[in-house]
């Protein structure tokens, strides 16, 4: 199983440097297509996606996150983020599940 990265140009470039193949996406259509492709490629074990891109196709990502087994999805901050922290994990759970931890 391999990693696959979906994000902005710098993020993809960086991960390609570490031997991970990836796809660049800037619009929702591009992102969705790349996302589908990454899922179809049976060898993908973990899909790394930047938050900016994930927000473009939030409904697709979230649906996948809860339902299917593989690939696992991990969201990372993109290269252009200006310091504010990402979605808090507790908030994420509260938001998605509706139970407080």
């Amino acid at each position: 199983m391999k990693y696959f990265v979906l994000g902005d140009e710098d993020a993809v470039l960086g991960f390609e440097l570490a031997g991970v193949s990836g796809a660049r996406a800037a619009t929702a259509e591009e992102a969705e297509e790349a996302f589908r492709k990454a899922l179809l490629e049976g060898d993908t074990g973990i899909l790394i996606i930047t938050e900016e891109v994930a927000d473009l196709i939030r409904h697709v990502v979230d649906r996948h996150l809860f339902s299917e087994n593989f690939p696992l999805i991990v969201e990372i901050p993109g290269s252009r983020r200006t310091g504010q922290p990402g979605r808090d994990i507790r908030a994420l759970v509260n938001e998605a599940i509706g139970i407080k931890l």
Binding site: M1, Y3, E16, A18, G45, I76, P77, L101
Partner: protein, 214 residues
């Protein structure tokens, strides 16, 4: 839910059902507790890993940017083609209360150096190492996050089931049982009274007419 005939066989059936519902409630309650405990430990771990990944990534982006500034984006992109390092993931599975959770191990194959140090910046090597580091942390983060989501969903389902049993199914069954019991007792009393009446009438007719018409 009073659409059952108030007879004895239904009464026994209802009693069994109530017993079963109580047992289910108890089991689900235990399951809920275990899931919540598991979730709490996972959340702490995930928050920890999240911050570690973010720190590692910030470093990686910074060194990449420096490399790009020194060498130009195109050259860095060309170099990335030369790196034949493979990041392989080994996926295993563990089960908590019937929920399948992934366990991720990342293995890197392919040894450096990947390109000549001539004409390339040290920053590229730095960026490479930083991204590699971030990548292995990320495998664990993915495992934790996905586990968290799945466990939380299962916990939500369990909580809903527990509440349904506690607030609806069990009280409902209890009420029906009580009603059936009441109706059965009533029928018994009625039957008893009837017998009494028949007996007294029999005695009366025996005393009065000595075998005259009943």
């Amino acid at each position: 839910m009073k659409n059952v005939a108030p007879n004895r066989s239904n009464y026994i059936k209802l009693k069994d059902e109530l017993k079963f519902a109580r047992l289910g409630h108890e089991l689900l309650d235990q399951k809920r507790n275990i899931l919540v405990i598991e979730l709490l430990t996972l959340v702490d771990q995930t928050v920890d890993y999240q911050s570690r990944v973010e720190a590692a990534l910030a470093r990686a982006y910074a060194s990449l940017q420096e490399a790009v500034m020194v060498m130009g984006k195109l050259k860095v992109a060309n170099l990335s083609g030369a790196v034949n390092m493979q990041a392989a993931i080994v996926l295993k599975e563990r089960r908590v209360m019937g929920v399948r959770l992934p366990v991720v191990e990342t293995e890197f194959t392919g040894e450096g150096p990947y390109f000549s140090p001539l004409d390339t910046s040290l920053r590229v090597e730095e960026a490479l190492a930083a991204f590699k580091n971030a990548l292995s942390l990320m495998g664990r983060l993915a495992e934790l996050k996905v586990s968290l989501m799945r466990l939380a969903r299962e916990a939500k389902k369990t909580i809903r089931k527990v509440n349904a049993l506690e607030k609806i199914a069990i009280p409902d069954l209890k009420e029906t049982l009580k009603w059936t019991e009441g109706r059965l007792e009533e029928a018994e009393r009625e039957g008893f009274l009837l017998m009494k009446m028949v007996k007294s009438r029999l005695e009366k007719s025996k005393g009065g007419g000595d075998g005259a018409a009943l």
